[in-house]
C-alpha cells in the first residue's frame, strides 16, 4: 500500500498551477487536503506522474463576506468552516453538516474545494451547496467562470471541472430572512460516509413551508434534488398528513441502490424517515 513514484511541485500562484496542468495534462493531479487523493494513491487507484500541491496558494484559503453572499476559498479547511461564526450565521446548513464530515484529524486537512472537486456521491457538502443555490468558481487559462452547484455535479465522480482547470472558490448566498435549514444523515459510525442523508432549506412562515429544497446524498451518483417531495410541501404546515404526502412523493424523486452497507429498500426507508426529521426540525425552528 504505497503510492507509485511521482514528482512533486509546489506552485505559489494559480497561474503556475494552470501552466503545470497544461504542460503535463492528465499525468498531473492537484493535491489539496489529500484526504481523498492520498488513499487512492496509496491503493494505486490513481498513479499520477506529477503531484501539484496547491497548499502554497494562500490566497485560495479563507472565508469572506461579500454583500449578499459568502465566498469560501477552495483551500479553506473543513475545521475552519466548522468553527467560523460567519458560516454559522449566514450559512447555518453548512455549519450543521460539518461535524458529520469524517473525523477531527481529517477535518484539519480536508478542504472545501477538494470535497467539491471529488464529488463523492455520499459527501455532505455537494448536497448542501445544491440546496443553498451555491455557485462554484472555476479558473482556467481563459479566466474564471461560475457554475451553479446543481449543474456542476454531473454523474458519479463526474463534474463540470475540465482538464486544465482549477476550482478556486465557492459562493453561497447568505440565508434570507424567514428561511431555515435542517440537516440529517445516517451512518454506521459517527464521521463515516453516510448510508443516506439530506440537506433541507425552506421559508418557514408561522409554521407554513414554502420554497422547500430537499437534496439527498448517498442515494444516487450525484446529489439528488427531491423536487416532487419539495413541491408537495408548498404552502403546507408540517403535520402527519403533509409528511406522509411528501414521503409518498419521494418515490418519484429518488431510486436508491443496493450496496455493501444497505439495501435499496432500507435506503428508501431511511430517506423517508430523514424527510420526517428535517421537516419537523424546520417547523420547530
Amino acid at each position: 500500500m504505497k503510492p507509485s513514484a511521482f514528482n512533486y511541485a509546489k506552485p505559489s500562484s494559480v497561474d503556475e498551477v494552470l501552466g503545470l496542468l497544461s504542460e503535463h495534462g492528465d499525468e498531473a493531479t492537484i493535491l489539496a487536503g489529500g484526504q481523498s487523493l492520498m488513499p487512492t494513491m496509496n491503493m494505486r487507484l490513481s498513479a499520477p506522474s506529477l503531484v501539484i500541491d496547491i497548499n502554497g496558494l494562500v490566497d485560495l484559503s479563507g472565508i469572506s463576506s461579500d454583500g449578499d453572499s459568502l465566498r469560501i476559498g477552495a483551500l479553506t479547511r473543513h475545521v475552519e468552516i466548522e468553527n467560523s461564526p460567519e458560516i454559522a450565521k449566514h450559512a447555518p446548513l453548512i455549519a450543521m453538516a460539518m461535524p458529520s464530515i469524517a473525523h477531527p484529524a481529517i477535518r484539519n486537512r480536508g478542504t472545501m474545494g477538494g470535497s467539491v472537486a471529488m464529488a463523492d456521491p455520499a459527501a455532505e457538502l455537494p448536497a448542501c451547496l445544491c440546496a443553498l443555490g451555491a455557485e462554484i468558481e472555476i479558473t482556467g487559462s481563459g479566466g474564471a467562470r461560475k457554475v451553479a452547484a446543481t449543474d456542476f455535479f454531473r454523474g458519479l465522480y463526474d463534474t463540470d471541472l475540465g482538464d486544465g482547470e482549477i476550482l478556486t472558490a465557492i459562493e453561497i448566498p447568505k440565508i434570507s430572512a424567514g428561511y431555515r435549514s435542517a440537516f440529517d444523515e445516517l451512518a454506521r459510525r459517527h464521521g463515516d460516509y453516510a448510508m443516506c442523508g439530506v440537506a433541507a432549506h425552506a421559508k418557514v412562515d408561522g409554521g407554513t413551508i414554502s420554497d422547500l429544497r430537499l437534496v439527498f446524498f448517498a442515494v444516487g451518483g450525484t446529489p439528488v434534488a427531491a423536487a416532487s417531495a419539495s413541491a408537495a410541501m408548498e404552502g403546507q404546515s408540517v403535520d402527519d398528513n403533509s409528511i406522509a404526502a411528501a414521503q409518498a412523493a419521494l418515490e418519484e424523486d429518488i431510486s436508491p441502490f443496493d450496496d455493501l452497507h444497505c439495501s435499496a429498500t432500507l435506503r428508501m426507508h431511511y430517506a423517508k424517515e430523514l424527510t420526517k426529521h428535517v421537516l419537523t426540525t424546520l417547523a420547530a425552528g
Binding site: 504505497k2 500541491d53 469524517a102 473525523h103 481529517i106 484539519n108 464521521g191
Partner: protein
C-alpha cells in the same frame, strides 16, 4: 513509467529537534517518521485514513500521518507520541490508561493519546458522548472503548481539579 524521480530535501523540527533529509516525494509522513527517523511510536494500520493509528501533530494540529506526504511537512513542526511522552504533557493520560487497562495490545494507543491531547485542549470538559465522537476516527480492536473513555474522563476531571 520512465520519468526520473528527483529526491527532495525536507527540513523540519521533530519533537523539538531540527532534522534534514533527502527523500522521495511519495514518502508518507508516517513512513518518514518510522523508517528515516526511527520514531516507531506512530503506527501504520490501514494507510487510507480509517484507523487513526498514524495520528501525529503538525504545526499544532493532529493529522493522519498516512494521508500527508512527508515533504508537505517541510519547514513545519512535528510532534509524535515520543515527543508528547518525553515532555511529560501526557503523563496523567499514560497513568490513567495503564490503571484502567485502556491499552491492551497498544497498537491504537499512540493515535488515541494524540487525538485525546487535541480534544482536551479544545474541550477540557467533554461528556462521554463527546469523547466518543472525537475519537470516532480511531479504531481499537481490543478494549471495546469503554475503558478508554473511562481513562480520559478521569484525566479530564483531575485536570480541572476534581
Amino acid at each position: 513509467m520512465t520519468q526520473a524521480i528527483e529526491q527532495i530535501q525536507i527540513s523540519a523540527i521533530v519533537n523539538g529537534e531540527k532534522i534534514s533529509r533527502m527523500i522521495e516525494p511519495r514518502l508518507s509522513l508516517v513512513d518518514f517518521l518510522r523508517n528515516e527517523l526511527e520514531l516507531t511510536g506512530s503506527h501504520v494500520g490501514c494507510e487510507h485514513g480509517v484507523c487513526g493509528a498514524c495520528t501525529v501533530r503538525v504545526n499544532g494540529e493532529i493529522v493522519r500521518g498516512c494521508l500527508m506526504l512527508a515533504i508537505q511537512a517541510d519547514g513545519g513542526e512535528i510532534v509524535t507520541i515520543e515527543g508528547e511522552s518525553d515532555s511529560g504533557e501526557i503523563a496523567d493520560l499514560q497513568k490513567a490508561f495503564h490503571e484502567r487497562n485502556a491499552a491492551q495490545c497498544g497498537f491504537c494507543t499512540p493515535g488515541i493519546i494524540m487525538t485525546t491531547t487535541e480534544m482536551l485542549k479544545n474541550n477540557p470538559e467533554p461528556s462521554r458522548m463527546e469523547i466518543r465522537e472525537y475519537l470516532s476516527g480511531n479504531y481499537c480492536r481490543c478494549t471495546g472503548y469503554e475503558a478508554i473513555v473511562d481513562a480520559i474522563e478521569t484525566v479530564a476531571t483531575e485536570r480541572k481539579g476534581g
